[in-house]
C-alpha cells in the first residue's frame, strides 16, 4: 500500500470507460449528422443515424448497471451531496491551493457529474421523440430538436472540459485508468478524502482496503 491509495473500483472504471466510448461515438456521429459539409461528404445517413441512436440508447445502461457495486453507489452518493465547503470552493479563486479541504470529489467534478447526468437524460428523452415521430405531435418534435441541439452543444463543451482537465493532471487520469493514485496527490488534491482513507478510523476501514 505504500505510496498509493485506491481511488476507483472496477465497477466505477468500467462504467466510466464504457460511457466514454459511447459518448465519443455519439459526438462523432452527431457531428456528421449535424454538419452539412461532413454529412454530404460521408453520407450514409441511415447507418450513421442508427449508430448514433443506438449508442445513445445504450449510454445510460452502464450508468445504471454500475449500481450493483456498493463502492460505485458510494461514489454516486458522494457526487450527489454538496457541502457548504463545495460552494466556497466553487467561488474561491484559490480553490487549488488546498486551503479548502476537498473530499473524494471536488465541487467541479460533482457539478460535471450532475450536469452530464441530467443532460444524458434530456438527450435520451428528446432523442426518442425525434426517432419515433409517430409518438408525439409535430410541435413537440420541433421542441425536441431544439432541446436536443442545445443540450448536445452543452454536453460537447462539458466533455471537452472534462478531457482537458484530465489531460492536465496525469495522476487524476491514472486514478481512472488503473484505479490507484499516489498518496501525495490524494493529500494535495483531495485532503479530506486522504484523511479518511490514509488514516482510516475504525468505522471506515473497508474504504481503505482494495
Amino acid at each position: 500500500m505504500t505510496g498509493t491509495v485506491r481511488r476507483f473500483g472496477k465497477a466505477a472504471r468500467a462504467v466510466h470507460w464504457t460511457v466514454a466510448l459511447l459518448m465519443i461515438i455519439c459526438i462523432v456521429t452527431a457531428a456528421i449528422l449535424y454538419n452539412g459539409s461532413l454529412e454530404v461528404a460521408i453520407g450514409h445517413r441511415h447507418l450513421v443515424e442508427l449508430i448514433h441512436v443506438y449508442s445513445g440508447f445504450a449510454l445510460p445502461v452502464p450508468i445504471l448497471l454500475g449500481a450493483i457495486s456498493a463502492a460505485y453507489r458510494l461514489d454516486l452518493r458522494r457526487l450527489n451531496r454538496f457541502t457548504p465547503g463545495d460552494w466556497r470552493w466553487l467561488r474561491s479563486r484559490e480553490r487549488r491551493d488546498g486551503s479548502i479541504k476537498v473530499g473524494k470529489f471536488n465541487a467541479g467534478q460533482k457539478l460535471n457529474a450532475a450536469l452530464s447526468g441530467g443532460a444524458i437524460a434530456a438527450l435520451l428523452g428528446t432523442g426518442v421523440i425525434m426517432y419515433f415521430p409517430s409518438l408525439t405531435r409535430l410541435s413537440w418534435r420541433t421542441g425536441s430538436t431544439f432541446v436536443h441541439d442545445w443540450f448536445a452543444l452543452a454536453v460537447g463543451l462539458l466533455v471537452l472540459g472534462h478531457i482537458a482537465y484530465a489531460l492536465k493532471d496525469s495522476e487524476a487520469l491514472r486514478g481512472m485508468r488503473t484505479g490507484r493514485v499516489s498518496a501525495s496527490w490524494a493529500r494535495a488534491e483531495h485532503a479530506a478524502w486522504a484523511d479518511e482513507v490514509l488514516e482510516p478510523p475504525q468505522d471506515h476501514e473497508q474504504e481503505a482496503l482494495s
Binding site: 445517413r45 450532475a114 420541433t142 421542441g143
Partner: protein
Amino acid sequence: MRAAAGDDGPEVDGKPIGRRTILGLIALAGAGVVGGKAVQDGLSKVLAPIELRDPTGLTGLIPNGNSFRFYSVTGAVPTKNAQTYRLAIDGMVTNTASYTLADLQAMPQTKLVRDFQCVTGWYVPQVHWSGVRLSTLLDRAAPTPGARAVRFRSFDGTYTESLSLEQARLDDVIVALQMLDGPITHNHGGPVRMYVAPMYGYKSTKWLSGIELTAKVEQGYWEDRGYPVDAFLDPARGHGA
C-alpha cells in the same frame, strides 16, 4: 441521512444538489419540448440576419434550429451541371422525355414561399422556391390509362420516393430549379430537386434524375425504414395511401 458504516460505507454530508440538478435539467428539457418551437422561432429571427452577415462563420456553430440540415443517404453523390444534367420522364407514359436544365428553365416557372418541414421536427420557415409544376411535365408526358402513381429517382443512385398521381398533380408540387433565391446548390440536392410543399421533407427527393409513371405507389427509401407513405403535414389531408 444514513447511519455510518452501513453496507454502503460512510455517511456522506451535504444536500442532494446533484439529484436536484438532474431533475431540474429534465424539467427544463420537458419545458423545451413543449415550448421550444416558440423559443426557437424567436431566436431564429434574431440569429438569421446575423448569420447571413457573419464573415467568421462562427454563428454556424450555434444550433440555429430553423436552418437546413443536409441529408445524404449514400456515399459521394456525383455533381451535375447545366451540361451534364438530364431529367428522364419514363414508365407508363405516351411520350418519354429527357430534359436538360435549359429545357426546364424555358418552361413556365411557379414560385412558392413555403416552409420546409422535416418529419423529425426541424423546419425552415418561408423558403423561396421556384420551378416547374410537376403537373406540367405530366401533361406533356401523357400518362397511359393504367398509370396511378409517380416514382422519383435520384442520381445519388439509391434514393427513391413516390406520390399518387393525384398528389403529384397538386399545384404546390414542383420540380424545383431554384431555392433560397438562387440556383439549387449541390448540398441542397441541385441542380434539380423535388419540392412537395404539403408534405414532410423526405418526399422532396434531392438530386432528381428521373420521374417514372407506375401502376401503384411504391415505398420510398425512408418509408422502407419506417416513415409513413402518407406524408401530408396536415393529418386531415392524409388519405392513408
